[in-house]
């Protein structure tokens, strides 16, 4: 009841049982009570980590860290640039609706070295990080000859682009 055969994959998240090869986990499942069937298992590496998991984890770690660092740097710079606005309300409310920025303000803000634009850039990096994770997973699945999963990842990325377009049209 097992599937020992493995497609010749070369997943990027090594190591595997044999270098350059991934293993398909064998399984026995029940379709109806008492009747066991074989189903295709996930392509996993030696440590039980599936194809794409390691690159996706790496992308999320790096993107998350970069985003938080940019946000922190932006907040520190904002305090340094305009400390008066942070210590008293007479210089404008930095937490009110007037301080809100749009994505379209990003390029101009960065050109003028505005601290709130650096914070906004950090948020854009944070928002782009999960999308980069999906792209990494899609790429790994494409390399691992799992086109159906790669297509699903591509669909998610297209939907995220549509989200951006719809948000801009608001």
């Amino acid at each position: 009841m097992t599937r020992p055969t493995t497609p010749p994959l070369d997943p990027p998240d090594q190591p595997t049982a044999s270098p350059g090869r991934a293993t398909t986990s064998p399984r026995q499942t029940m379709d109806v009570p008492g009747r066991a069937t074989n189903v295709p298992g996930p392509v996993v590496t030696e440590r039980g980590r599936e194809v794409g998991a390691r690159p996706v984890a790496w992308v999320l770690r790096v993107g998350g860290l970069l985003g938080v660092l940019l946000v922190t740097a932006g907040l520190v710079t904002a305090f340094g640039q305009n400390g008066a606005a942070w210590t008293g309300r007479s210089h404008g409310d930095i937490l009110g609706p007037g301080a809100a920025l749009r994505l379209s303000d990003l390029a101009g803000g960065l050109r003028h070295a505005r601290a709130d634009a650096i914070v906004l850039l950090g948020m854009v990096v944070l928002a782009a990080t999960p999308a980069a994770g999906v792209a990494a997973a899609g790429w790994c699945w494409l390399r691992g000859r799992q086109p159906q999963l790669a297509a699903v990842a591509a669909l998610v990325l297209v939907l995220l682009l549509v989200a951006g377009a719809l948000g801009a049209a608001e």
Partner: protein
């Protein structure tokens, strides 16, 4: 808080978000559940700006928590990406709707969702896959090779995914709530995977944490484009939540979570009533 300087207000908001992120992590609700009520009820901030800040923190919290779940093999990446098709569609619908609904409606929906989360916390969670042998076949799950296995002590236990179409439908609703209120909607995502799709509870929780980031990113794009994000506020909230989430995962082994759960069940119900009262006023 209007007489307090913005610096002090930001410091307090960051500290509160550290606590909120830690509690959210300990209780499996995610920090976003508490952030919007805290920012609106305690700090008197505009609900849309609070949601805009929360949605950024949801993405940051997911990016901080989910790599560990991927490393440990708990999160099912294939299930996550498949269900993200539905959560992203829902999140965009929710985020677009949020721009057109009145604040009263937003408060009311938030109150109802918090009450639902409290009920979810009350429910005794058990791993349905351990005591149910019959798992209906699912062609979509077979085609997309969604089935997996998870560490169970020293060995790995195989599990089979079912009712993918039902899961996709439930995830669309979860995504809509997430986009509308700027929360992760883990309280809706976990039962969809755990009860409907028959994923082990541990896998459902880890996969939900991973999915929350993509769902949050879809709504974050809309909020960022619409100008509903105040950088200083959202930045402070995001940093506080990430620090809190990391702290919460470290405290998990030493904090009596069962007691904490009871205390915050009461807090969640009180906040829910407060939000409902504000919405219906």
């Amino acid at each position: 808080m209007s007489t307090v300087s913005p610096l002090a207000e930001i410091a307090v908001i960051t500290a509160v978000c550290v606590a909120s992120g830690a509690l959210g992590s300990l209780l499996g609700l995610g920090g976003g559940t508490f952030i919007v009520p805290i920012l609106t009820l305690a700090f008197g901030l505009d609900v849309r700006l609070a949601i805009g800040a929360s949605v950024i923190s949801v993405v940051a919290g997911s990016a901080a928590a989910s790599p560990r779940y991927l490393d440990e093999g708990f999160a099912n990446l294939r299930v996550a990406v498949t269900l993200e098709v539905a959560t992203v569609i829902g999140a965009v619908i929710g985020a677009l709707l949020a721009g057109h609904l009145s604040t009263h409606v937003l408060y009311t929906i938030f109150g109802v969702v918090l009450a639902f989360s409290a009920i979810q916390m009350l429910r005794t969670r058990r791993d349905v896959t351990t005591d149910a042998l019959a798992v209906p076949g699912d062609r979509l799950a077979d085609v997309l090779t969604l089935h997996g296995d998870v560490a169970n002590g020293s060995e790995r236990r195989a599990y089979r995914v079912t009712r993918t179409a039902t899961g996709l439908t439930m995830m669309t609703a979860a995504g809509t709530v997430s986009g509308l209120l700027g929360i992760g909607s883990g309280a809706m995502k976990v039962p969809a995977m755990d009860l409907a799709m028959r994923l082990p509870l541990k896998v459902s929780t880890a996969t939900s944490s991973l999915m929350i980031g993509v769902t949050g990113a879809a709504s974050a794009v809309v909020y960022l484009q619409r100008g509903d994000v105040v950088p200083a506020l959202a930045g402070a909230v995001a940093i506080g939540t990430v620090v809190g989430a990391r702290l919460g995962s470290r405290l998990l082994s030493v904090v009596p979570v069962a007691t904490l759960r009871l205390v915050f069940l009461a807090v969640l119900l009180v906040i829910s009533v407060q939000m409902l009262l504000r919405g219906l006023a």
